[in-house]
Amino acid sequence: MTAAVTAAPRRGFAWIRWSAAGLLALVILAAVLAPLLATADPAQQTLDQLRPPSAAHPLGTDALGRDVLSRLLFALRTDLLLMAFAAGLPMLVGTVIGAVAGYYGGLLDVAVRWVADIFQALPVYVLLIAFVFVLGPGTPSLLVAFGALGWVVYARLIRTEVRRVRERDYISAGYLLGLSHTAVLVRHVLPNALRQSLVYLTTDMGMALQGIAVLSFFGLGVEPGTPELGAMVSEAQVFLRSHWWLAAFPGLVIVILGSSVAALGDRWTEREEAV
């Protein structure tokens, strides 16, 4: 076997990764430029309902006669933000809790470990549904539910990593050089402990998107009227057989968005494994 033979597949699929990164960039750009790119007001209802794609409406119109392309563009904004918050909020909470517990240890750590164990053992997904039912539909309850249930994974990941990093010699070196514990935690421990949870974040964002889509499917998603991908799919479900494009495009965007974020995470993991 020669080098070329074993190396070939590696190069062969690099394009997938690049296209993932490219797609993600494109999606973000489209979201940022939505007001410029949209050809119509995404909320403007007309009696031109359920039209197939045409020059005036490149992706057709929905059941209320709104331009699907424009809604899609604005939905990207909603979903990127939702994704970021639904995954970012738990990460923030989990990171702070996990870091403090992992670094300082002691009773706090024991408490956090118990709580995390309990949370871990609870049926998170079922509770997610129950929570949103309790809090009622809408963005705030979505975020609260994701935050309340999602922090545990991050707290665990971070705690484990912090405990691993804490044993590293440069941590005690930093302390000996006169840094306070907080400074050591923030300057040395956290940056080195974040990697795993960042990788997880990329998966989590896709999962958050799915979660939102599923909750929309049950009619528990964002406020009605807000352009949002999951809601668009679930609204279009009933027209699937006659107007397939209505569900197809937002669905496709969900898949693209989730996969390209996840592909970035894969890249990190692979790089880790390659070392």
Binding site: D169, Y170, Y175, L176, L177, G178
Partner: protein, 314 residues
């Protein structure tokens, strides 16, 4: 001679799991050890005898459960203020973990100098690099781009950045190639001369200790069993344990391997009564199993053995 650092009846205990129960073991047990300014003291002993624990207690990373550490004859508080922490620095065994992997050399070295102006920092950083024999080209490198020896030099430079009085080097060259280790050790000697550093050099490599150190302390199961001038200890070891250690070192002359099988050291959970070494001691007598050995001193050389210097080669 006034002592710069002194461990006084220093004891460090850890909680460990023994079957279904938790128990405390004393990893360091009433150690008495002093370092004079400008000297290198070698600390040797088998794995698990408490060398690292003692070192970490002296720099203040591990809190003693009894006894205290004195700096310039003044006891240090249990929680040392930053200024006092800076006076005693540590060099670690694993060069892979002693540097923050995310920071460049320049950032690592600048960290302890944060109070200074940018100009001063740049100047001082270059000075430090030069001191450990590295060039400016390494300033932008991250740890993974450096070799083990280079990393260890950076770690030394970082410790020197705060102008410490004492360095504790815990197996600082154990994971380096002999050749690279030699270079780092040469650097240590040089720095000691230049900066009048005091060094506690923890190692299990007796050959290195003999070459590098002014004095040697031998630890066994949490206790210092022998301490004295290096030349003295190597030439006339007073404790049977020291002799066993020396015998085990492969040497150029002898194709014969050290005398006898020593067996495993006892678990610190089940310490033997009397002299802790007696179950493995080639020269043990009944007394050794019942009474703790006295400390015998002979001009700057002390040995904790009932038969110090008496037990002949077995």
């Amino acid at each position: 001679m006034s002592e710069l650092v002194r461990a006084e009846q220093l004891t460090v205990a850890y909680a460990v799991q023994d079957g279904l129960f938790r128990r405390r073991i004393r990893a360091v047990d009433g150690v008495e050890l002093g370092l004079a300014r400008g000297e290198i003291l070698g600390l040797v002993g088998e794995s698990g005898c408490g060398k690292s624990t003692l070192g970490r207690a002296i720099v203040g990373l591990t809190l003693p459960s009894a006894g205290r550490v004195l700096l310039d004859g003044v006891p240090v508080p249990r929680r040392r203020p930053p200024g006092m922490r800076r006076r005693v620095q540590m060099i670690y065994q694993d060069p892979g973990s002693s540097l923050d992997p995310l920071r460049t050399v320049a950032q690592t070295l600048a960290e302890p100098l944060r109070k200074h102006s940018a100009d001063q920092v740049a100047h001082r950083t270059r000075e430090l690099l030069e001191m450990v024999g590295l060039g400016e080209e390494h300033l932008r490198a991250r740890p993974r781009e450096l070799s083990g020896g280079q990393r260890q030099r950076i770690a030394i430079a970082r410790a020197l950045a705060v102008a410490p009085d004492v360095l504790v080097a815990d197996e600082a060259v154990a994971s380096l190639d002999a050749s690279v280790a030699g270079a780092v050790l040469n650097l240590l000697c040089e720095l000691r001369e230049r900066l009048n550093l005091t060094v506690l050099f923890i190692s299990h490599d007796l050959a290195v200790v003999r070459r590098l150190c002014d004095r040697v302390a031998v630890m066994y199961l949490g206790r210092v069993v022998e301490e004295g001038p290096a030349a003295e200890v190597f030439a006339h070891p007073g404790h049977p344990y020291t002799r066993v250690l020396l015998d085990a070192v492969p040497s150029a002359d002898r194709r014969r391997l050290g005398a006898r099988a020593l067996g495993e050291p006892p678990s610190p959970l089940h310490l033997p009564p009397g002299c802790r070494f007696h179950p493995r001691c080639p020269a043990a007598a009944t007394r050794c199993g019942t009474a703790a050995p006295p400390e015998v001193r002979r001009d700057g050389h002390r040995v904790a053995c009932h038969f110090a210097w008496q037990a002949q080669e077995v």
